[in-house]
């Protein structure tokens, strides 16, 4: 179920402040953030972010198409290295 429109999108205020500041100083530095649940609002477009995925910060350049998604959607938290293959067979079994 979606979020009540009465509340508006979930945006982390502090992050919005940071974006404002970057806008004023013209800084291109990626904005480091842990706020994966924060919705991408139009103000974020054209900014660089570094989104935490639990281990690293994933760099993201926000485009117009991404508005409405959450920051976390662009920083995968799982690494899938694939099944099978020769190495896995030798080490895994026996």
């Amino acid at each position: 179920m979606g979020r009540s429109s009465k509340k508006g999108p979930y945006v982390v205020e502090r992050l919005l402040d940071k974006v404002d500041r970057a806008e004023q100083t013209g800084s291109r530095e990626p904005i480091k953030t842990w706020a994966r649940a924060c919705t991408i609002v139009p103000e974020f477009v054209g900014k660089n972010f570094a989104i935490h995925n639990g281990r690293n910060f994933i760099k993201l350049y926000v485009t117009e198409d991404m508005v409405g998604h959450k920051l976390g959607e662009f920083a995968p938290t799982r690494t899938f290295r694939g099944h099978g293959g020769k190495a896995a067979k030798g080490a895994g079994r026996k």
Binding site: T63, D65, M66, H69, G72, E73, F74, P76, H83, G84
Partner: protein, 127 residues
């Protein structure tokens, strides 16, 4: 059998039901269409007059996205998800379920036929 928009030939069910044979028309829109054209939803599709069919066709043409156009729209939406590199887009690319379903078992619709891995031993043999 009546034809709407050239290709669609809904059969002789009630109008609300047969409208749903058009791609992009579900229960909700079928009801809405009947409402807006003033056609009784219980009237059989074969009993629709030329006038009523024309009305339906005009309305569908002008205000609704159906059939090929609708299919293209859906593909575009998926394409957008793929392009922006978000989680849902990744799932579409990999052909795995998109809505957070389990993939340990099931998920065969998305993953296709089973690909059995050779040499995987049963529980008994491993002891």
């Amino acid at each position: 059998m009546p034809r709407i928009l050239g290709i669609d030939i809904p059969n002789d069910k009630r109008t609300v039901i047969s409208l749903r044979y058009i791609y992009g028309i579900g229960p909700f829109l079928a009801e809405q269409l009947c409402d807006r054209t003033g056609i009784s939803p219980d009237k059989r599709a074969r009993d629709l007059t030329e006038d009523e069919l024309a009305k339906l066709a005009a309305l569908l043409d002008n205000e609704y996205v159906v059939e090929g156009q609708r299919r293209r729209q859906v593909q575009q939406n998926i394409g957008r998800l793929r392009d922006i590199g978000c989680y849902r887009g990744l799932r579409h690319r990999k052909g795995l379920p998109v809505h957070g379903q389990r993939t340990r078992t099931n998920a065969r619709t998305r993953k296709g036929p089973r690909k059995t891995v050779a040499g995987k031993k049963g529980v008994k043999e491993m002891r």
